[in-house]
């Protein structure tokens, strides 16, 4: 017995109706994939870089790297967040940031041996020496770098748990500082960021 459908059926036994259905299905799948691809392309087109720095140290020397990197990254137009925790909070502390000290012990590159460096008052001496060097070299002050970071919309965060641990008050920090944030906030930002640094 021979019908039109049988005659035009391919070797695989498909009828034109089957083929048409399959083609329609494939077309729909292609459209679907193209839509998905467009979404992915939109996502990767966003070349806005971002950086998160976790600042944990509050000595005069260790306050510099996060502030220098943050302000420079902001100059590149990146989104920058600096999450300050433990002694890093002192960088954002209005009073304490103006009086960051250099430790004279524990650094073998210091010009004074540790035995002498551990004499009370030596930190004040080495801090004074460092501040003079910074001024002589016309290196930006911590104040200047902080102002720059705030002016360039760097997101400065102060970890809530350590604010309480260190007996600080939320009002002790500069106005533009974000308080009430914790490790989860930092991690969430770090997961999205292109660069993550712990200082």
């Amino acid at each position: 017995m021979s019908t039109d459908a049988d005659e035009s059926a391919g070797d695989d036994g498909f009828t034109p109706d089957d083929e048409a259905a399959e083609i329609a299905e494939l077309r729909a799948r292609i459209d679907e994939l193209e839509e998905e691809l467009a979404d992915v392309t939109v996502e990767t087109d966003d070349d806005q870089k971002s950086m998160v720095i976790v600042a944990t140290k509050g000595t005069l020397d260790m306050a510099y790297p996060p502030l220098i990197l943050a302000s420079t990254a902001a100059a590149f137009g990146w989104d920058v967040t600096v999450f300050h925790t433990f002694w890093g909070l002192d960088i954002l502390h209005e009073e304490r940031s103006k009086d960051l000290k250099l430790s004279s012990v524990g650094n073998p590159n210091m010009p004074v041996p540790n035995a002498i460096a551990s004499i009370p008052g030596m930190d004040r001496v080495t801090t004074k020496m460092m501040r003079k060097k910074i001024a002589d070299n016309e290196t930006a002050s911590i104040d200047e770098l902080l102002d720059t970071c705030f002016a360039m919309d760097v997101e400065m965060q102060a970890c809530q748990m350590t604010i309480e641990l260190m007996d600080y008050d939320e009002d002790d920090f500069y106005d533009d500082v974000t308080v009430g944030v914790g490790a989860a906030t930092a991690l969430e930002a770090m997961a999205e960021a292109d660069i993550q640094l712990l200082v």
Partner: protein, 105 residues
């Protein structure tokens, strides 16, 4: 043929000179960051560029030798700006580093 060389060199210097002169006359704004060290030349350049319009040319005058690499790196890594030229000049015994940064259209 040394005489031809001399002529070529002289012509080249004139071209160079004209090129630099035209750059200088095209400058929209000059930013003086003499004395400032890293990261301020870059940071201040960015702040200056933000106040300029497309097509404007910013001249950055620095004494920080690191600015040669830093301004170059910043300009190539930042959207909307391009480095046109950099040069080292002697200003009364002091070396200054001059950068020409163009705000892109």
């Amino acid at each position: 043929m040394p005489i031809t060389d001399t002529i070529i060199k002289a012509q080249y210097s004139i071209v160079q000179c004209r090129h630099n002169m035209s750059l200088e006359t095209d400058v929209t704004e000059t930013l003086d960051v003499k004395g400032a060290s890293c990261p301020m030349p870059v940071v201040k350049s960015k702040q200056a560029v933000d106040d300029l319009a497309a097509g404007d040319l910013l001249e950055v005058v620095a004494t920080d030798s690191g600015s040669m690499s830093d301004i170059d790196g910043w300009a190539s890594g930042t959207d909307g700006v391009s480095l046109v030229e950099q040069e080292e000049r002697d200003e009364g015994g002091e070396t200054v580093y001059v950068h020409y940064v163009q705000v892109e259209e």
